[in-house]
Symmetry: C2
DNA sequence: TTGTAGGCGTTATCAT
DNA sequence: ATGATAACGCCTACAA
């Protein structure tokens, strides 16, 4: 393997000079810079990232912590796009990435998790699908031992940024649109998980809407489960004018229930997953670019690792109707 | 961070002795082994895998090369399970994993790819979704620079194993079952990609069946595209008794086409993806445990890295019918 | 501006 | 059986 040493030798300079060149440090004459780069090309030198990670706390590695929802594989789509977006951007930024799943450290204490991450030379973390109940992760963030980016959870401190769409506003908008299209008054809202950040925000959005349009609203917890949404709709759907769901999967469950009950009620969802195209009917939903969000998160993390302070980053979304022929083309 | 040095100091032994203990090497007295382990517990020592990777060619790292099919996000489900299965098993086996996507090195030459992997201290690779056209990957495998496991492609050499189900047999069985249930004679077979290994095997399975049951068969290439399967079915479905598809996604496309044409033909698919539960009708398909296959692949890779020779590993599958209520519970 | 040398945390090779 | 010690490839004061 061609190492920095070889490059130095061929270029007739010291190792440290080569290091400076490949890392873009100042205090190198234009002349030597060119020469070194030339040799790098010639020898096809690729710096060993493992050695770099070992020697400097600068060039840290990034861990993706993904909360795979084992129950509903249908939304693997979202996680896959998260992972893809992050890894692609990381490669662009020359960052090393390892992927971990929540399930892998369910039995670990915070200290154990921190030690594990450190043993991997991890200095930056992106967390997907975190809820209020994840005490270990909250501790991890609070420990300030790592730079963190949390997707869709409003946690910010010096070392931590939050990235995601404005769920409150998005929920408000998609529900409003559907309600106005159908002139509804009595809303059945099937929310997500009781302790989810996203759930809370979306619920607030519904609250805004109810106040503004003077609606009545019944709220039930669907836990993002298609089956529960189905059951809830069976039970309460008849006396309502619309079923607003905090996720597409639940919206699908609701719609199937309505079909079986042989009554029509408008339904709207949230997320814009592909699956929506397969259920026959169209419905309004909120579409976000998950890979894009994740890429943005990686960029933000890189900034944090570079010394920037944590902040909130809002990403774009749009209201759409999804139908079969749009999906398969 | 507590390092091996600290452990050595506290235990009153040399660094190298600690190293031997934590790596299970021989030539350590029971007494010191116990003592060292005790200190390891006490200090909560976790070996730094980055340093280990740098120092030894033994403790190699593993790269997952995933061919994400950008066109059809519906099968993210499969890739996600592959990734999950591999990473979980790797953690169990104490192997480091990085995940890469084909798209990241589409423009790289084989040499560049090899250099890149080496720069990451990669010594083992698992490849998902490889086709005959992936010259770079063929070169990579042939170079013998890495230990490889290829999923669903019959490539074996000293350093390379192949892991997957017997596609020929599985295709034969699922088609046979469906045909016998419906007493068909004229088969429309929608195959996958022209240069896919899996496609070829499945086609052979159909060949076996056609011969055995004295059927007639029209074969078209659907490229695993739902839309193409749809079009093919529109064009040729009417004059056939059954549509056998090389993937669930294509089976869904075929079924939708038949519904629109308002004719009934039995359809069978392949893979057992969740999406199948959402299309209304049931159909026969082949179900495999993707996470399990991937975990098995990781085990095989660990063996290869330990010096074993490459071989073929067959994993189990089953014939199933998927319907909505099975999926959402 | 350039080069020297001391780590980073392990592993592995030798002596002892 | 145990312990120095030299790699591994790179980064970074610090010295020249």
């Amino acid at each position: 393997m061609v190492s920095i040493k070889d490059v130095a030798k061929h270029a007739g300079v010291a190792i440290s000079t080569v290091s400076k060149v490949i890392n873009g440090y100042p205090n190198v004459s234009e002349e030597t810079r060119i020469k070194v780069n030339q040799v790098v090309e010639e020898l096809n030198f690729v710096p060993n990232s493992v050695a770099a990670a070992l020697s400097s706390k600068q060039a840290g590695r990034v861990a993706l912590l993904v909360n795979l929802n084992v129950k509903t594989q249908a939304i693997d789509e979202i996680d896959m796009q998260y992972i893809q977006g992050a890894i692609n951007k990381a490669m662009e930024l020359n960052l090393d990435v390892i992927t971990l799943f929540f399930s892998m450290f369910k039995s670990k204490t915070m200290e154990e998790l921190i030690r594990y991450l450190k043993s991997q030379s991890i200095t930056g973390i992106i967390i997907y699908g975190m809820s209020k109940e994840d005490k270990v992760l909250h501790g991890l963030i609070a420990s300030m031992e790592f730079k963190c980016v949390v997707i869709d959870a409003p946690i910010v401190n010096e070392n931590t940024s939050s990235v995601g769409i404005d769920h409150r506003k998005a929920q408000y908008e998609v529900a409003r649109k559907t309600i106005e299209e159908n002139n509804c008054k009595r809303v059945l809202y099937i929310a997500g998980k009781r302790n989810g950040y996203v759930t809370q925000e979306r619920l607030l959005g519904m609250g805004d809407l109810v106040t503004e349009l003077e609606l009545t609203m019944l709220v039930r917890w669907g836990d993002f489960s298609e089956l529960q949404a189905r059951n809830i709709t069976m039970k309460y759907g008849k006396n309502k004018d619309i079923v607003v769901c905090a996720s597409d999967l639940m919206a699908i469950g609701a719609m199937k229930a309505l079909t079986e009950m042989d009554i029509f009620r408008p339904v709207c969802g949230f997320d814009g997953i592909i699956l929506m195209g397969y259920v026959g009917k169209q419905m309004n939903t909120v579409r976000q670019d998950f890979a894009g969000v994740s890429a943005r998160a990686m960029e933000e993390l890189a900034l944090l690792m570079g010394g920037k302070e944590g902040c909130i980053v809002n990403t774009p979304y749009s209201l759409v109707r999804m139908k079969y022929m749009d999906i398969i083309c």
